[in-house]
């Protein structure tokens, strides 16, 4: 009896759960033990909580003006915690509603990226003939400074929240596609792909069942960073007046409007600035943690 068979019999004797739930996998345990991931998760969860509970946290309508209440500085008060702005609008209400917009736009960009970036990257990596043309197109798009390209697209389509999502997706999809393509190029040469082909699987089945599930780690890491960039870029677009219309509170718009009063009422810019920083830093810390746990190779490459 060879060794391998005896060890198998021993394993058979033990009761074995059918499938390991995610919270019991080593990956999950490593994530929990990763300090900066947990800090990032806490920061990001805080922002998500603000956005989800906005209707409950916000003292009043974020767009309701009150001229007599202008420029109230932040104070220890349920309503005036973050003060009021130049039109007397409640800053706390505006911040939490701004969180909704930022996260929705970030989410929209991530969703579009994970659909089109993955699709294009998988096609380019798998069908070698399409690779050249598609990657040259991606090169061309990536040759533009990203924010400039986003501004151009947003300006061409007219400012709105959807425009921002589309403009930022166009900017980031080539980047996602590149990452996916690189992973696909590695996985497609593995023997189990050949084995799947030998058992009669078609191209789409091979891509969706055999290649993509083995390319998830770098993709998840990339998407967490893209979320952060999207939040930041949305603020930039709004700052420049190319994002959401003024009727929707946005952190970028708030900074832009508060800029005029930065000497007299610094909180008008500092508070939304901190909100952006908190979100982006949280996402980046999470991204770093995910990268360390899921895809340690990237860490070495980046030093």
């Amino acid at each position: 009896m060879p060794a391998s068979d005896t060890t198998m019999d021993a394993a058979d004797a033990l009761p074995k759960p059918r499938a390991t739930p995610f919270w019991r996998t080593p990956t999950f345990r490593r994530l929990v033990r990763h300090r900066s991931f947990m800090i990032g998760l806490a920061m990001f969860s805080f922002v998500v909580a603000l956005a989800v509970l906005a209707w409950w946290i916000a003292p009043n309508d974020p767009n309701r003006t009150a001229i007599r209440m202008r420029f109230r500085p932040p104070q220890l008060d349920r309503v005036l915690l973050l003060g009021t702005d130049n039109l007397g609008r409640n800053m706390l209400s505006r911040i939490v509603h701004g969180a909704q917009l930022s996260l929705l736009i970030g989410l929209g960009v991530v969703v579009l990226n994970s659909v089109f970036g993955v699709l294009l990257g998988a096609v380019a990596g798998y069908f070698r003939k399409l690779d050249g043309p598609m990657m040259r197109l991606a090169d061309a798009l990536m040759a533009f400074p990203s924010i400039l390209l986003a501004i151009g697209i947003a300006a061409a389509l007219g400012p709105s929240a959807w425009t921002a999502v589309i403009a930022l997706s166009v900017v980031y999809i080539p980047r996602t596609a590149r990452i996916v393509r690189a992973s696909v190029l590695v996985v497609r040469e593995m023997e189990f792909v050949q084995a799947a082909r030998a058992s009669g699987a078609g191209h789409w089945r091979i891509i969706s069942r055999h290649i993509m599930p083995n390319c998830m780690a770098p993709l998840i890491v990339q998407l967490s960073f893209i979320f952060a960039y999207a939040v930041l870029s949305e603020a930039v677009l709004s700052f420049l007046g190319l994002g959401a219309p003024p009727s929707i509170p946005s952190w970028g718009t708030m900074i832009s409007e508060g800029r005029t009063y930065i000497r007299e009422a610094a909180w008008l810019t500092i508070v939304p600035g901190c909100a952006i920083a908190l979100t982006v830093l949280g996402l980046n810390l999470m991204g770093d943690g995910l990268r360390d746990v899921l895809d340690p190779r990237l860490k070495i490459e980046q030093g």
Binding site: M190, A198, S199, N214
Partner: protein
């Protein structure tokens, strides 16, 4: 064998386009496999054995690979002329294949059950529960203990031998008429190798399929095959029944291969080796491709390709001195 071969490869020529031009990896190779027969293909690395198998399966990496000529008749139909979709239907159902590396031939992110049932459901209209039942039966057939439980294991929970058993279960799950086994035991421990070969032979008898086994191991051939084709530099040097090839090899290359294998009986002298290495496919010798390494070379060997002669019924050799008798 003359009746109706299951697989008939006729003048197969497979080329690869490279930076230095086109090279011919498989050059004018012909052989037949009868239903239920086991054909062994032996040769060194780079002799074209695996490329032959991939050509049959239609799995050559294209580009750079391409079948440049010949026919591959399976059940009377030319596989090279089949539309892609029909060829895909063939793979896995009529022709199965197992590979050398059991450690990497299974998808790490799915359970083995997922992977076996997937193969079955690609080819047959069958429900998930029925496919699972068949998967368990197949695992049982290939000798995996407690298959009802093992079917939910991930590949990393199995040893190499067990994974190769799973690969065999997958390849045989749709009862193919022909199984291509490309070095199925090379990556395994010797004890496991013997088990896998025994298993393959039992399954072959039970299911009555034909097997083409590709290996560089003469021992595997002796134990397992009915007939053997010896490949050298893209051509078949000698082909015949296993007994004849081992007892009376007529091609000097076959003789050389056999004399470089240790004998289990009697004193073991210093093993003989064949001097030199396989010629580069870019600079093939003009005549017989083995001539530069051959101890029995005569001038005529370099003149042109030696014709394949039938030495005895079913025993062919591509050597101009083949009839002079063996000198192993």
């Amino acid at each position: 064998m003359a009746a109706q071969p299951l697989l008939s490869v006729r003048n197969l020529r497979t080329v690869f386009g490279t930076m230095q031009g086109e090279v011919t990896a498989v050059d004018d190779v012909s052989f037949d496999v009868a239903p239920g027969e086991v054909l062994g293909i032996v040769g060194e690395s780079g002799s074209g054995k695996s490329v032959t198998a991939l050509s049959i399966m239609g799995l050559l990496p294209q580009p750079p690979g391409r079948v440049a000529g010949g026919e591959i008749l399976f059940d009377g139909r030319d596989l090279l002329k089949l539309p892609k979709s029909q060829m895909r239907q063939m793979r896995g159902s009529a022709i199965g294949m197992i590979f050398q590396e059991p450690m990497t031939s299974l998808n790490p992110v799915f359970t083995i059950g997922d992977q076996i049932t997937e193969t079955i459901r690609v080819h047959e209209r069958i429900g998930a529960a029925a496919a699972r039942k068949r998967g368990i039966e197949m695992l049982e057939k290939v000798g995996i203990p407690s298959p009802q439980r093992r079917i939910d294991d991930f590949p990393h929970q199995l040893s190499g031998g067990m994974r190769q058993r799973v690969m065999i279960a997958m390849a045989l799950s749709c009862s193919p008429k022909l199984l291509l086994a490309d070095e199925p035991t090379t990556a395994l421990d010797v004890t496991i190798q013997a088990q896998i070969l025994d298993l393959l032979r039992d399954l072959q008898r039970e299911m009555g399929m034909a097997i083409v086994i590709i290996t560089h191991n003469m021992g595997v051939i002796a134990e397992f095959a009915d007939r053997v084709a010896v490949m050298y530099a893209g051509r078949i040097a000698e082909e015949g029944p296993v007994g004849r090839i081992f007892d009376a090899p007529t091609h000097p290359y076959t003789a050389g291969l056999l004399s470089s294998t240790p004998d289990l009986v009697g004193e073991v002298p210093r093993l003989r080796t064949i001097p030199g290495t396989l010629p580069s496919l870019y600079e093939l010798p003009p005549g017989c491709r083995f001539a530069p390494r051959c101890g029995r070379r005569v001038e005529a060997c370099e003149a042109g390709r030696p014709a394949t002669q039938e030495i005895a019924p079913g025993h062919f050799a591509a050597c101009i001195r083949a009839r002079e008798g063996a000198s192993a």
